[in-house]
Amino acid sequence: MRWLLGKDLLILRRSRLLVALLIFYPVAIALLIGFAISASPARPRVAIVDETPPGETITLGGTRVGLDEYTKQLFSQVDVVHVPTRAVAESKVASGEVLAAIVIPSDIVAKISSGVSQAQIEVIYNGDAVEQSFVRSTIDATLAQANLALSEQIKSVAVHDLNLLLSGGHIGPLGSQELIGLRQLPGTLSGIASRQPPGKDRETLTRIAGFASLAANNLGIAADVLTTVSQPIAVHSTLLQGKRTPLDTYAVVVAVTVSLMFLCVLLAAGGVALEREEHTIARLVRGLVSREGLLAEKAMLAAVCAFVVALAMLLGVSAFVSLDVSRIGLWVLALAFGALGFGALGVAIGALAREVRAASLLAFLLSLPLVFLALVPSGSVATGLYDVIGAVSFVFPYKAALQALDAAVNGASPSLGISIVHLLGLTLLFGALARLGLRKAE
């Protein structure tokens, strides 16, 4: 076995370009996937046509709300390109210079101030289906936030006026005019009524005092009603299982697992296929090495090489992303068992393929979709399809290795132990498949 291992290391040393490709290509793919997951999407470039006169304010119950507050909220979510007219905005959208344009019409202030008609803004966009979907969702979310901010301001004005009505206060220039509050009316009226002789006037005053008391009580809850109406649903998040995984450390876990998989599967598959391609496999298995020994040697060599690269990658990344290095023992366990699973998958592919190129192609064709399937979140596809994806991911080692490393690095669920048992099962399964594939040596 050691002579065979020495031979394989010598061949690897003499295949420097292949080794470089085997290391750098998966690492590059892993980093790309990692960046794609962790990076927030860039702010879309959006043209804004503001047709309102500068400094215009919305007057609500005598209080002015600046339109600037609204547009500031709107502009904070996008990369703003100010344009003077709708026509210029349309041409910029058509040329692709901006993803969309928002036209704020000149009558928006009048409509909001009227309190009876709904104000409208116009969104112009272009592009293919993916761009349209991206732009629409971004603009919709931005508008929803801006609307929320505006309704908060309107609600504040309304609540202030309601409080004035209920509790009284000073209004007019410099607070010159005193306003009696609705809550004070029942007591004042009851006092006046008690000083009246019994009769019609006293009864009328008592009835008015009762109405004022009822009105004050009911208007007292109006402020809460306004708050509920302005934001009917508040979000309270509860994580059912495990620990919350920060997106950047999860991206590291995905990137390292992808590297581990590609390197390990390609090396193991290529190693077995090379023995077939060189016609040496028949010479070896006629008593020199057992078929199981040969497969174990290829899987172990690939696993050790991939493990070293993946651990180095994880340690290197920990210099830039906050990872808990004290958990390194768990990292080693997760990477080791993940590498074993991938090694077994690799030798199974190599045993089925007749030559190195076919084995490499098969390894890529099989591995790449597994990465994307494992990243499909539940709820993003139909339940039946998600179940199929789950079943496919379950019978290949990528998802199990990803979960093992996520548990080791981030303490996520399922636990590392469960993932290791899963990986061991898959190692045995693919080892048995490889042995079957190698049944006929030539």
Binding site: W3, L4, K7, L10, I11, R14, S15, E278, H279, T280, A282, R283, L284, V285, R286, G287, L288, V289, A441, E442
Partner: protein, 237 residues
């Protein structure tokens, strides 16, 4: 285990191979002797490679026995089974160690000398000609100094000069007492080099005798004509 009679280096009895319902080889029996060159001839698909791969221990037979264990039989497959990224000497050393040859370096030196590859010892296999690659292939089969060696169509990919050198090497081995069993579909090689000829067709052994006897069985003429006539008469085609 079969018992060898005097001079026998290999005895095969009732060897058969089935792949499902298809019978690739049917009850083949013969013996090979020390220093003898025994040719296995037959058309494509006759079962020549199947027979040799079972004698070599690469495939398990469905029935029958072979007198020698795997480690006692040298095997030279049809295509060079060598590591192209390793040098000649590295290939020889590796297989000598895997075969647990007692004195690795002595065995390697002996093979380099016998195959005339001393000057090419440090060259990588992928930089050698087809003829020299086949020499390394033969050398690997001889590393353990077996009493009998199996060569599966050894000259197929070689040019005439390379063939000539290969047969010179094989003849020298036979002269030293090694029993040689080789398969070929070039019947002229069987006539020229073999002391005995086995004719296989559709997995059945149709003839076991000298080239002269085969010519007579085939009705005379040159060897190739007689071989074709023999197959037409005795074969199932």
């Amino acid at each position: 285990m079969n018992v060898h009679t005097a001079g026998e280096v290999l005895r095969v009895e009732g060897l058969g191979k089935r792949y499902g319902s298809r019978e690739a080889l049917h009850e083949v029996s013969f013996a090979a002797h020390a220093g003898e060159l025994l040719a296995v001839v037959g058309p494509n698909g006759a079962g020549k490679t199947t027979l040799l791969s079972m004698l070599a221990g690469v495939q398990a037979p469905s029935s029958g026995t072979v007198s020698r264990g795997v480690s006692e039989v040298g095997w030279v497959p049809q295509q060079p089974a060598v590591y192209s990224k390793l040098s000649v000497i590295e290939n020889l050393r590796l297989f000598a160690r895997l075969e647990k040859v007692a004195d690795t370096e002595a065995a390697v030196a002996r093979m380099l000398e016998q195959t005339g590859l001393i000057d090419r010892a440090e060259e990588r296999i992928d930089r050698l000609s087809g003829g020299n690659q086949q020499r390394v292939n033969v050398a690997l089969g001889l590393l353990a100094d077996p009493p009998v060696i199996l060569l599966d169509e050894p000259s197929t990919a070689l040019d005439p000069a390379q063939r000539e050198r290969l047969w010179l090497l094989v003849s020298e081995l036979a002269a030293r007492g090694t029993g040689i069993v080789f398969s070929t579909h070039i019947v002229a090689e069987a006539e020229r080099y073999a002391a005995r000829v086995l004719v296989l067709d559709n997995g059945r052994l149709l003839f076991d005798g000298t080239p002269g006897e085969l010519v007579r069985e085939g009705g005379g003429g040159d060897f190739e004509q007689a071989f074709v006539s023999f197959l037409a008469k005795r074969g199932e085609r």
